[in-house]
C-alpha cells in the first residue's frame, strides 16, 4: 500500500516535469527559450499549469452522449497508470534490522509480483485504446471521430508489432516475470549483461518504433496533430478532462520507457548495484529519463508520417522484421549461442556488480 503511494507520487512528479522539460528542450532545439518565467528557470511551471486546468471552464458539447463522454478520459488515464505496479524499481533491499510493523527485513521494490507480468502490461495497453475511440465518438464532431478512429487503428496495428518485438526477449530469458528478466541481465560492472547489446538489437529497434507509435508521438502523431485535424480526438474536451488525456499520454510515454529500460537496458542493473542496492532506483530512473529525452529529441527533429504511410510501415515493414527477429532468436537459442554469451558476459555478482 505504501509502495503504491510512493510509486504514484514519483511517477506523477516525473511526468509533470517531463512536460516542462519537453517544452524547454523543444525550445532549445528550435532556437528559442521555453517557459522560464514561473519560478527559477521555469521550475514551478507544472504547478501553474495544474492551477490553470483546475480553474478553466468545463465545456460539455450539446449533443454528445454524456456517460461515454465522461468515461473516455477515465479509461485512458486508468489504463495508463495501472501498468506501473509491475515494474521493478530496484533489487530487494535487505536491511540489517527488522522493521517494527511489518516484521521483515527486506523491502521489495516491486509493488506486485506476477508470473505473467509482461502479458499484464500488454493487456492493459490494449484496453487503453478504448479511451481514445470512445472519446472520438462521443464528441459528436466529425474531426474528433476521424481522429479517434485513425488513432485507434494506429494503436491496434502497432500493438501487434510491440508484442512481437518482445517475444525475442521472452524466448531468451525463459520467463514472463519482469524481476527475473532484470536479474538475468546482471553482468560485469552491471553493463555488459544488458539485453540490448548481444542479444536483441533488432528487437529493440522494433519495440522502440512500435512504442513511439503506440503513444501517438512524432513521427506517428497524425491523429492528434494540431495542423491536420484540429486536435484530433480531444478537440471537444476542456479543463480537467483534457488534462486527464494529456496526463494519460505522458504517463503512457513513461510506461513504455520503463518497459524498454526493464527489458532491454537491464532495469536496475548498473555499476556497484549489488553492493549498494538503493543505487538501482537511480539507475532505473536514469535510463527512463534517457528514453524520455530521446522521445523529445525525436519530436523536435522529425516530420510526420502521412496516415497511409504510417499504416503500411507498421504492417509491411515492422511486423515482418519482428518475425524475422523471432526466427533468428529462436535459432540462436536452440544452437546454444546465448548460453555461451551468458557465461562470458553475465554474472550474478561479478566484479563491480
Amino acid at each position: 500500500m505504501i509502495g503504491i503511494l510512493v510509486a504514484f507520487t514519483v511517477v506523477m512528479t516525473m511526468v509533470a516535469y517531463t512536460v516542462l522539460a519537453e517544452r524547454r528542450i523543444l525550445g532549445f532545439i528550435q532556437g528559442r527559450l521555453g517557459p522560464n518565467r514561473v519560478g527559477p528557470g521555469g521550475f514551478l511551471q507544472p504547478i501553474a499549469d495544474l492551477l490553470k486546468f483546475i480553474f478553466k471552464e468545463d465545456i460539455v458539447p450539446d449533443k454528445s452522449t454524456r456517460f461515454v463522454y465522461f468515461l473516455a478520459p477515465t479509461i485512458a488515464t486508468t489504463a495508463a497508470l495501472m501498468t506501473i505496479v509491475v515494474y521493478p524499481f530496484g533489487p530487494d533491499i535487505h536491511l540489517p534490522f527488522t522493521l517494527p510493523l511489518v516484521n521483515t527485513n527486506t523491502i521489495p521494490l516491486v509493488i506486485a509480483k506476477f508470473d505473467v507480468a509482461l502479458l499484464y502490461v500488454l493487456g492493459v495497453t490494449s484496453v487503453g485504446v478504448y479511451g481514445i475511440a470512445l472519446a472520438g465518438w462521443s464528441s459528436n464532431n466529425k474531426y474528433s471521430l476521424m481522429g479517434g478512429l485513425r488513432s485507434s487503428a494506429q494503436m491496434i496495428s502497432y500493438e501487434l508489432a510491440l508484442g512481437l518485438g518482445l517475444i525475442g526477449v521472452i524466448l531468451q530469458s525463459g520467463s514472463l516475470n519482469l524481476q527475473s528478466i532484470v536479474e538475468q541481465q546482471s553482468g560485469h560492472l552491471g553493463i555488459t549483461g544488458w539485453n540490448l547489446f548481444w542479444v536483441q538489437p533488432l528487437g529493440f529497434f522494433v519495440y522502440l518504433t512500435a512504442a513511439i507509435a503506440e503513444t501517438n508521438r512524432v513521427p506517428f502523431d497524425l491523429p492528434e496533430a494540431e495542423t491536420e485535424l484540429v486536435a484530433g480526438f480531444h478537440t471537444e474536451y476542456s479543463a480537467m478532462k483534457f488534462a486527464l488525456f494529456f496526463l494519460a499520454e505522458y504517463v503512457n510515454m513513461f510506461t513504455v520507457s520503463m518497459l524498454a529500460a526493464t527489458l532491454f537496458l537491464g532495469g536496475w542493473n548498473g555499476p556497484f548495484v549489488h553492493q549498494l542496492p538503493w543505487l538501482g532506483v537511480f539507475y532505473f530512473l536514469g535510463k527512463v529519463v534517457l528514453f524520455l529525452f530521446f522521445y523529445i529529441w525525436l519530436r523536435g527533429t522529425l516530420p510526420r508520417f502521412r496516415f497511409d504511410q504510417l499504416m503500411s510501415f507498421g504492417w509491411k515493414f515492422l511486423v515482418p522484421l519482428a518475425i524475422i527477429n523471432i526466427v533468428f532468436t529462436a535459432t540462436l537459442q536452440w544452437l546454444g549461442v546465448f548460453d555461451y554469451i551468458g557465461q562470458v558476459l553475465k554474472t550474478s555478482t561479478g566484479w563491480g556488480g
Binding site: 452522449t65 456517460f67 461515454v68 468515461l71 506476477f114 508470473d115 505473467v116 502479458l119 499484464y120 500488454l122 493487456g123 492493459v124 490494449s126 484496453v127 485504446v129 478504448y130 475511440a133 470512445l134 472520438g136 465518438w137 466529425k142 471521430l145 476521424m146 478512429l149 485507434s152 487503428a153 491496434i156 500493438e159 514472463l176 502521412r306 497511409d308
Partner: protein, 220 residues
C-alpha cells in the same frame, strides 16, 4: 476471502450481462460486454489461471471488442426501439426467470460436493510453461489447425472487403483526399480521381469547366 472475491466478480459479471441485454444503444451494450470480460478475467485469476486471464483481456477485451466498437462507430448504429408485441408473454418470462433463480440458489446452497479445493497457489496447472508444454506436445494438431483457421479468416475478411464498392478496382487513392465513412461504403459515389496537370489557374478552370471568378476592382 476467496468467497468474497467470487461474489464480487460474479456479481459484476451478471450485472454487466443483464445491462448488456437490457440496453438499447449498441455502444452501451458493447461497453457492458467489456465489463463482463474484465470480470471473467478476474475470476480466472482467482481460479489459478493467470495466463488465460491475461489472454482473455488481450484477445477479447482488447481486440475483438475494439473491432465491434469500430463497426458500431463506422455504421453509425442507432438505438433500437422494440415494439411490445405480445403482452401475455411477460408473466411467462417472469416465471422462467424465477425458475432460473431457484435453480441457482439450490446449486449454491445445497450442492456441497466438490472434487478438490480451488487452487490459487498450490498447483502449477495454470502456469505459462505447462500450457506451452501441452500446446506443443500433446495438442500440437489443434494448434496447427487453429493457425490455418486464422489464415482462412484473414483471407475471408480481405475478400469481403475488396468486393466492388469498398475498394473499386479502378480507384486511384489520392493522398490527402478526405474519405468519409459513407463514401467508403456506398458504391455509387466514387468520384473521378484522375489528376489534372496544368500550368496556370486558367487551364485548371478550363479543364474543370468552371467559369472565371469575378475580379475585385475599385469600381463599385
Amino acid at each position: 476471502m476467496l468467497a468474497l472475491l467470487f461474489i464480487l466478480f460474479a456479481g459484476m459479471a451478471v450485472g454487466c450481462a443483464i445491462s448488456m441485454v437490457a440496453q438499447r444503444n449498441p455502444l452501451y451494450s458493447a461497453i457492458s460486454l467489456i465489463g463482463v470480460f474484465l470480470a471473467l478475467a478476474c475470476l480466472y485469476v482467482t481460479l489459478g489461471a493467470p495466463f488465460i486471464a491475461a489472454v482473455q483481456v488481450i484477445v477479447y477485451a482488447g481486440a475483438i471488442m475494439v473491432l465491434v466498437v469500430f463497426v458500431i462507430m463506422l455504421l453509425n448504429v442507432e438505438e433500437e426501439d422494440r415494439p411490445m408485441r405480445l403482452r401475455s408473454l411477460t408473466p411467462i418470462a417472469v416465471g422462467l426467470a424465477a425458475a432460473l433463480f431457484a435453480e441457482t440458489a439450490f446449486i449454491i446452497f445445497f450442492v456441497h460436493w466438490s472434487p478438490a479445493t480451488p487452487t490459487a497457489s498450490v498447483s502449477d496447472v495454470g502456469l505459462t510453461s505447462s500450457i506451452g508444454a501441452g500446446l506443443f506436445t500433446t495438442y500440437l494438431l489443434p494448434f496447427e489447425v487453429t493457425s490455418i483457421l486464422l489464415l482462412m479468416a484473414i483471407v475471408g475478411a480481405m475478400t469481403l472487403a475488396s468486393r466492388a464498392g469498398l475498394l473499386p478496382r479502378e480507384a486511384v487513392v489520392v493522398p490527402g483526399y478526405q474519405v468519409l465513412a459513407r463514401e467508403v461504403l456506398d458504391p455509387r459515389t466514387t468520384p473521378d480521381l484522375t489528376p489534372i496537370v496544368a500550368r496556370s489557374t486558367g487551364e485548371v478552370e478550363e479543364a474543370l469547366g468552371v467559369e472565371e471568378a469575378p475580379q475585385i476592382t475599385d469600381e463599385s
